[in-house]
């Protein structure tokens, strides 16, 4: 731009002409600037849409799987060798043989070892235990012919979904020609169905994708979050109350505040390292247990809860305190009876958001060994467990096609929990928060 002072003052007409001439350019740059903003927002929302589309397009099919319905004769002698219908006796029975026979019958009794092996490849390896569990649940069917649904093997499932093409040469695909022929035969007899996976929520960790489920991880997450909540909520609220209402303005208070800010800045993986070094190496607690996981996550979420609780306490007007003190309440009575109750919704909101953060956290749990392959459903805070995000991390590493879908399905479950928690926090805030004016 030319400097008007250098060239002497401009006449008003000349100035108007210059401004007029530059207006178009300035309007253009104004529009450009605005478009940049819109582009940035569109881009972020596009990322969000892509992320959710990617997860849901794989995760929704991951909640379903293929089943084969077979007519099974629950022969009493073979299912229940001891004859007392106890679980031990049923598990020692020949359920595997019975399942295989019904499968061969459904396929028109193929001859030859190779053909039989090809036929057996259709069913999940867990079919026998599925039949046993069915017999335990429905003892009245023993001795009768019943239709039972069995999960198909994960490779067959991938084939039925079209991920394994028929055109691929036989040596390059995981399903051989003979098996494909059998699957077609079952399909023609409409014995194969595609339905909601009952393994997803009831199955535990497994190397077999078709029977893997999130039950153990989900319960592990609940134990861990329970410990986390029991520690973080009282500590967070107490710290907030102390810092807002009681703490004198001195060096000690300053140190506490600096430390809280530092904790908020420390990467989450470092909390895991501290948990490993202190609780496992020094205190000798076992690895992989929800107790240690909960403590570590509690220390990690503490700053979130403290900060939101302080904001909630600050929102209580001073007149409330003055009124309480004026009618003779002690300082502590004022805090306990007149400051904390109105601040509670805000504190709870912060706690729920902190818990949602803890639920999605993976890295610290990896450090304290909650990444182990644990089949049993944990029954307490001292039993080895894993957590939902860690399960997702482990499944993401498995190469089987079906695990990608199961992982996405598990992610949908995790996101559903997180969204419910956050929505709950928002509703709580809207409903209970008091407006003082």
């Amino acid at each position: 731009m030319t400097n008007p002072i250098e060239n002497g003052p401009l006449s008003p007409q000349e100035a108007a002409i210059r401004v007029q001439a530059s207006l178009k350019k300035r309007a253009r740059s104004e529009r450009r600037f605005q478009y940049l903003g819109i582009a940035a927002i569109t881009l972020s929302i596009l990322f969000l849409v892509l992320l959710f589309a990617g997860i849901f397009s794989k995760g929704i099919p991951g909640m379903f799987q293929h089943y084969v319905t077979l007519e099974v004769l629950l022969d009493k002698d073979r299912m229940d060798p001891e004859g007392d219908m106890s679980a031990a006796s049923l598990y020692s029975g020949d359920a595997r043989g019975i399942v295989n026979e019904s499968l061969m019958n459904a396929l028109g009794s193929p001859e030859g070892r190779k053909a039989k092996r090809a036929a057996r490849a259709i069913l999940s390896s867990a079919s026998a235990s599925r039949l046993t569990e069915f017999a335990i649940k429905n003892p009245e069917y023993i001795g009768e012919i019943v239709a039972v649904k069995f999960a198909v093997d994960d490779d067959i499932d991938s084939f039925l979904r079209g991920f394994i093409a028929r055109e691929t040469p036989e040596s390059d695909r995981r399903v051989n020609d003979q098996t494909i022929e059998f699957v077609d035969r079952l399909n023609q007899a409409s014995l194969i169905s595609y339905e909601f996976s009952d393994y997803l929520f009831t199955g535990s960790a497994s190397r077999d994708a078709e029977i893997a489920g999130i039950k153990g991880a989900l319960i592990g997450s609940i134990w861990t979050l329970g410990v986390c909540l029991l520690i973080a909520f009282p500590l967070g609220v107490a710290t907030a109350v102390y810092l807002e209402e009681i703490a004198p303005k001195n060096r000690m208070t300053e140190i506490i505040e600096i430390n809280i800010n530092n904790l908020a800045a420390v990467p989450s993986v470092v909390f895991g390292i501290m948990g490993l070094a202190i609780f496992i190496i020094v205190f000798g607690l076992p690895r992989s247990i929800p107790l240690v996981g909960g403590i570590v996550l509690a220390l990690m979420t503490l700053p979130t809860i403290i900060i939101s609780s302080r904001a909630a306490i600050r929102a209580v007007p001073p007149s409330i305190r003055d009124a309480a003190l004026g009618v003779g309440a002690s300082k502590m009575q004022t805090i306990l009876h007149h400051v904390i109750p109105p601040a509670m919704p805000g504190m709870l909101t912060g706690t729920i958001i902190g818990m949602a953060q803890a639920l999605g956290e993976t890295a610290p749990l990896l450090m304290i060994g909650m990444v182990a392959f644990i089949v049993d459903v944990p029954g307490g805070v001292m039993e080895p467990a894993t957590a939902l995000p860690v399960q997702i991390f482990m499944w993401a590493d498995f190469a089987e096609r079906m695990f990608i879908q199961k992982t996405s399905a598990a992610i949908i479950v995790l996101l559903a929990f997180l969204i419910t928690m956050n929505a709950g926090a928002i509703i709580l805030r809207k409903k209970l928060e008091r407006r003082w004016q």
Partner: protein
């Protein structure tokens, strides 16, 4: 008696004493002849708290301390070569005994292990009984003393409030203890690491391959294990740089648009949407990066004839950038909104357009806050773990090409420390040294951001 039932029992004793104290209070109250200092329930709280709090603290202390005592008593059972041996030998001996205590048998254990395990189980039994007895006695006796102590002039409310105050102070100091715990745990192990590997080799070393350690110890051939952190530092820097290149422009322009241009309705829709991006767990981003973005980047590279590693820094960085967008945008949004309207009005009054006002008045005024937001975003990117673990791989290449596979400090820490670790090996300890570097850098960045805000913040009234 198990720990939970013991704690439950102590709580029951506490509740009984609470009722004793309160009923005493209400009786005095009903008599009406003497004036009570506090409300009846405070006498109850006082007796109840005195009965439970010290006993529970004692219980926690004893249950932690007994293992340490047993550990030192166990030394008498170790054969002489273990006692004279190094810390590794003692750790192995201890694990052997503990396995047997938990009922896990590997082959036939040595006789001394059998004896030690039997002794340990015996001690445990005695200790459990002693702890139960001592804590219950402590609870009952202290409660009784407190109950005898109360009188109408006794200041029960002040006593209860003092206990609450101490509880609040203790809770607040947890933040300090956590910080100390983090620093000490990392520092001690790092010092042990630097005793094995000279510190200058760690900081200035150009090669990182701790995986050779096992071969080295076994005495077989192969390379030597080296612990130079520069490749990982470069990798962390590279991925963070990609992330920041994505996050800062997008986040900043989103914030500007939301703060200055968007209608209230747009804002109320877009802001929560951006916040969803912040709420998505990092493991989900990692999965998305490894499964969708990395193959996409590779395919684009292939179609342009460029060789892209399947675990390229670009893919991990891009996704990490997306994760940080809401962080940058919400911090910048706050800062921009804090610039007073009078500054904008003054700019409009001089005839500037909206974008001119933003570029030449609002942004300069908000600059310290925006710089701080960017620094915090960098610190976030450096500390981010799951995305790099899942999408960036483990190849410690010293490279500044975003299309190469690189590794980061955090992903190395996770790889070394998750799963079974060898005790006392330089490889395990190196993770702690890396964590020390990580903490130092993130805290330094944080401190720096704070200083920027403090020093350059404009005060408007």
């Amino acid at each position: 008696m198990s720990l939970t039932s013991l704690i439950f029992l102590l709580l029951v004793i506490g509740v009984i004493y609470f009722y004793l104290g309160r009923n005493w209070g209400t009786r005095q109250w009903a008599l009406g002849s003497i004036k009570l200092h506090s409300l009846p329930r405070y006498y109850g709280f006082w007796t109840g708290l005195i009965a439970t709090v010290p006993a529970v603290l004692l219980l926690v202390f004893l249950s932690i301390a007994d293992d340490f005592l047993f550990k030192s008593m166990l030394k008498n059972f170790y054969p002489s070569d273990v006692v004279e041996g190094d810390i590794v030998a003692r750790a192995i001996a201890f694990t052997k005994v503990m396995n047997l205590v938990e009922g896990v048998r590997f082959g036939t254990p040595e006789p001394w292990v059998e004896a030690a395990a039997a002794a340990w189980i015996g001690w445990q039994k005695i200790a459990d009984q002693v702890i139960a007895l001592v804590t219950i006695a402590c609870s009952v006796i202290l409660g009784f003393i407190a109950f005898r102590q109360i009188s109408p002039t006794f200041r029960a409310r002040n006593g209860v409030e003092r206990i609450i105050l101490w509880a609040l102070i203790l809770s607040s100091s947890v933040a300090i203890f956590t910080t100390i715990g983090i620093v000490l745990s990392v520092l001690f192990e790092s010092i042990r690491f630097f005793k094995l590997i000279p510190i200058q080799d760690f900081i200035f070393g150009l090669e990182w391959n701790p995986q050779f350690e096992g071969a080295e110890r076994a005495g077989s051939g192969g390379g030597t294990a080296t612990y130079g952190m520069l490749p990982m530092f470069a990798g962390t820097f590279l991925i963070s740089a990609v992330a920041i290149t994505v996050a800062v422009p997008v986040g900043l322009f989103s914030a500007i648009y939301l703060a200055e241009y968007a209608s209230l309705r747009t804002r109320s829709v877009v802001k929560p949407l951006l916040e969803i991006l912040a709420g998505v767990p990092t493991v989900v981003y990692g999965f998305f990066a490894a499964l969708t973005v990395a193959p996409f980047v590779r395919a684009v590279g292939a179609s342009l004839g460029i060789e892209v590693a399947s675990e390229s820094a670009l893919a991990a960085g891009l996704v990490m950038g997306v994760m940080i967008i809401p962080f940058v945008s919400s911090l910048s949004d706050d800062v921009i909104n804090a610039v007073p309207q009078s500054l904008r009005d003054a700019a409009y009054g001089l005839g500037s357009t909206k974008s001119e006002a933003i570029r030449q008045v609002v942004l300069p005024a908000a600059l310290p806050g925006i710089v701080a937001a960017v620094i915090l975003a960098v610190s976030r990117a450096i500390g981010e773990t799951m995305i790099v673990v899942m999408a960036a791989g483990l190849a410690a290449n010293l490279s500044f090409n975003p299309l190469d596979a690189v590794t980061t400090v955090t992903s190395q820490i996770v790889t070394i420390l998750s799963g079974d670790q060898e005790f006392e090996s330089a490889k395990t300890l190196s993770a702690f040294a890396l964590a020390l570097v990580l903490i130092t850098v993130t805290l330094a960045l944080n401190f720096f951001a704070l200083q920027v805000v403090k020093k350059y913040r404009e005060q408007y009234d």
